[in-house]
Amino acid sequence: MQPLVEFWRAYQSTVAFAIVNAFFALSTYSVLSAGILSFATVTYAAMGGFVGARLVLLTGLDPVFLLPAAMLAGAALAYLVALIFLRLDSHWMALASLALILITRVVVINVPSVTGGVNGLSLPVSIPLGVLVLLLLVAIVVYHRLSVSWYGIATRAVREDPAVASSLGIAPRRIQTIAFAISGAIGGIGGMLLALALQFLSPDTYFVNIAFTMIAGVVLGGSYHWVGAIIGAAVFTALPVLAQAVIPDFQEVANGVALLLIMIFLPRGLVDPRAIRLRRAAREGQGEALAAAVPAVAAARRAGGDAP
């Protein structure tokens, strides 16, 4: 029992960071699922993180009650970003979002009244792991609902072919604006959760390192289903920790190599609904052919037996 407890103590914070990163990956997935590659999640996270942390310091309320403020701040900022970004073509949008990350850092340094400037902000409170898990469960329910609703089908249509989607009455800009707002809301929450997990914020907290984790998470997990974002974030949070334990000298190389291997061998990620459907169709097709060819198998199937 003792080694298990020790193991848990050692890796408890890894689980917490995996959940925080899952929020960032979900935020990136939200826009990617509508056909937009954007790293602006980092900026929404900074917004949510600093607004949330400042409110915690000002009001002394339990941070959980202030999460909606961080969420709204992130969503509002994302809406503004959408108004500008949706005028750009896709590759320019990705570049513009990188520029936005750089701008974010400069802004953070220059508004010390909110962010603490170069000295950063210390937070006296943390967030229990149980609450993090609960929040992730809520996010899962929300993403599941969205993906099976008309919005889920509309985003996929816009991603695959915006012109055709438009001729079906689906306004691509409108769908993408909603995607941005959702991305901002979930990114804002993630930002505040990161602040609570670290209990210290500096201008470097919300920088390109987050962008790497979230994009790697989505690419690894698969950008065609929200489950992929969560799995990818978990893997890319655990990977450096494992690498540190096993091959400490090559920790950073291991990250890059893992990402490369995934892009080469699993270009659509670990969770790929299309491949799953194709496999299922192939299996059913085989089953039908077999059943037609061998009446005995068909009879066994009818009898409810799991005949091979």
């Binding site: 929300v142 609902r145 969205l146 099976v148 609703s149 008309w150 919005y151 089908i153 509309a154 996929r156 249509a157 695959e160 072919d161 012109a163 055709v164 989607a165 438009s166 001729s167 079906l168 009455g169 689906i170 306004a171 691509p172 909603i178 065609y224 609904p273 299309r274 459907r277 194709l278 169709a281």
Partner: protein, 272 residues
Amino acid sequence: MAARAAAQADTTLLQVEAIGKNFGGVAAVSGLSMTVRSGSVAGVMGPNGAGKTTLVNLISGLLPSDSGTIRFGGTEIQRLAAHDIAALGIARTYQNVRLFSGMTVLEQVMAGCFLRRGTSLWASFLGLPKAVAARKAVEAHAMELLERVQLVRQAQLLAETLSYGEQRRVEIARALGTGPRLLLLDEPTAGMNVQESNEIGSLVHSLRDGGLTVLMVEHNVRLVKEFCDHVTVMNFGRLLADGTPAECIAHPDVQAAYFGNTADADRIRALR
């Protein structure tokens, strides 16, 4: 019902006036005018490169026009975005099938149905009963449409695994999902055999009998003769002839455009 159909046939649903579209220096469509009467099957014919698909793209709002006006049921639509035109009641299919990759047949059709039967994002987000009911209604309606094009058995398959003819029918069902008053079919029978083409023809007729107006681009002279009430023939982006299928096919300019003119024929004979 018959009386209503007769009354409808007298009204103009779509009026295209002197519409023009240039690609660089090439006039794909120039100064073209045509009308489509409500409740009819209108055909657009013309040799390759005549501008037929461009015309469909202009009407459906996929391309902005350079000049001219398009009126649909009294509303000028040439400046509207494609999704606004869809909301007014124009739906279309594509010459090269354009289905969404990774979606099942049912989902493709559902994507079209949300225009008339959707709910607010908040309702689906919160899982309100009306959102659940709306989604069920959309699914049921999509299945009805699939039954109409005889694809119920394929509903759960990925659309890209279907045969070409089946994919074309998915596109028609998807377009019908938007609840259109005018359906634009861009070469609906391209690459189909005789039997499949005839099935599309009778589907178009049954849609017309249900009150829908259809504008179809069609190469096949036999099908145009058989299925269209009115034909517009284009060549080099311009109007070549306009009238009943028989009139158009007999028109000397149309004969010349399709089979070469008599002078050419004489020259060819002289060469032998």
